[in-house]
Symmetry: C2
Subunit: 284 residues, 2 copies
Amino acid sequence: MSFLDRIALCRRWDPAAYRPFVIAGRRMGRVRHEVARRLSDFPRVFEVGEDAVVLNPVLGDADSRSRAVEEALRPLAEAGELGGRWRREAYPVVQRWGEAPLMIIDRGLVPDLGLRAFGVHLNGLVEGPEGLQVWVARRSKDRPSAPGKLDHIVAGGQPHGIGVRDNLAKECAEEASIPAELAARAVAVGALSYRCERPEGLRDDVLFCFDLTLPPEFVPNNTDGEVDEFFLWPVERAIEAVRDTDDFKFNVNLVILHLMLRRGLLNPDDPDYQAVVEGLWLGD
Amino acid sequence: MSFLDRIALCRRWDPAAYRPFVIAGRRMGRVRHEVARRLSDFPRVFEVGEDAVVLNPVLGDADSRSRAVEEALRPLAEAGELGGRWRREAYPVVQRWGEAPLMIIDRGLVPDLGLRAFGVHLNGLVEGPEGLQVWVARRSKDRPSAPGKLDHIVAGGQPHGIGVRDNLAKECAEEASIPAELAARAVAVGALSYRCERPEGLRDDVLFCFDLTLPPEFVPNNTDGEVDEFFLWPVERAIEAVRDTDDFKFNVNLVILHLMLRRGLLNPDDPDYQAVVEGLWLGD
């Protein structure tokens, strides 16, 4: 089935093109060889070897690491010389959400260094006599990332300094005008992970997934310019789009597969069932 | 948190005590060194080397493999000389449910050869004004496996030759007298896997998980002698038992953690959240 093609797309990267990025003795990211060569311009920050890029151990705490990396790389990012733009959003450098961060870094540098990032995705659902329906957004054609692609009603990055649920509520307000009391009914339903090459660099993401059953009369309204239109689709139509097309943004496919697994929309006797389960979590 | 202790228990085995069991060029199982020595009594069936036990490649199809292995090992199993009893239940030898089996083998031999097995577990739920409740079974004290432990209302092995859903319906009838029309409402909610040493040998299992919301007036009734009593517990009590005790059968803990993840009963901001997600699937 082509569900597995969507998973494969979220695992497509070439390990031979990268070397580990090590902080405090731990591999926290992966750096393309050509990026590593750029980093060798900053020997007091990055110790660039053939086999690894090591953050200078002299930088002994999160504050000094964060400052040194920003000082070195912000000018490059702002000049457009790296894969990412400077985003003015602080991300923690951790392997697991909730750990003490080894440093804080701008979101725009995360894919250049192949660091793990976190996000929230919300399935906006309507359950009624016609069966399960799902709200689908079409991303604005002028977005730098995935223009025109189908998306969740609410999805966003998970910055440092705000809890997952509070971040979800914030995104609910910005992306779909979902009021706080409605957003509070969202149910945390698990997490998934993937690692793949994207135009901005290596994405190594964990997505926290939520289901929110919306009242039938609720209509989402985007306020941050990210969305052109919203559709309310029978879940079967979204499943067909996942199976047969690349219309959804790459990672949204995984969240819909996760929904399908949880809601009995895939049959355990399907020979690909186990591959879908396995495909929703990628270890180190 | 001690949720992670329950996961660790389901991953406890010593790789150094085993060598691979290879069929048709694929590692399909793992055999303890002392079991390997027993298998060397059957050189026309098992090619026992220091690094692996290989099923004789002369046995070129599933039928001939199945017959040869039964002929060699059934007498040992029936004489109680292996970890497992002879169960008279046919299991398929596959890595993923739904693949063409490399052979068919009695369930009792599966842990001795460290082969992958499959099972079904059903969360029997009651949803009402008092919140979510879950039916819990206490296993008979005279069961050979996990006597007296807390269990799901319905759980069982997944034999060859019957679909997952049909097997679930059969177990629903036998273990809890759940009628077919009620069992048909069970929702497939995913799968989990683990690998650990148990008294019977190495368990390398994939469990298909189901949720069934039962009418409040339904009371389960066991007909196969596996269960002594049933309790209807607030889900919080089951969660406490998973967190604080070893009262549940080892693998039931994982299915309850899987339920917790799906139902918003774990907080994504908990630093152990990701470890729980990761802990519910174990790759090869």
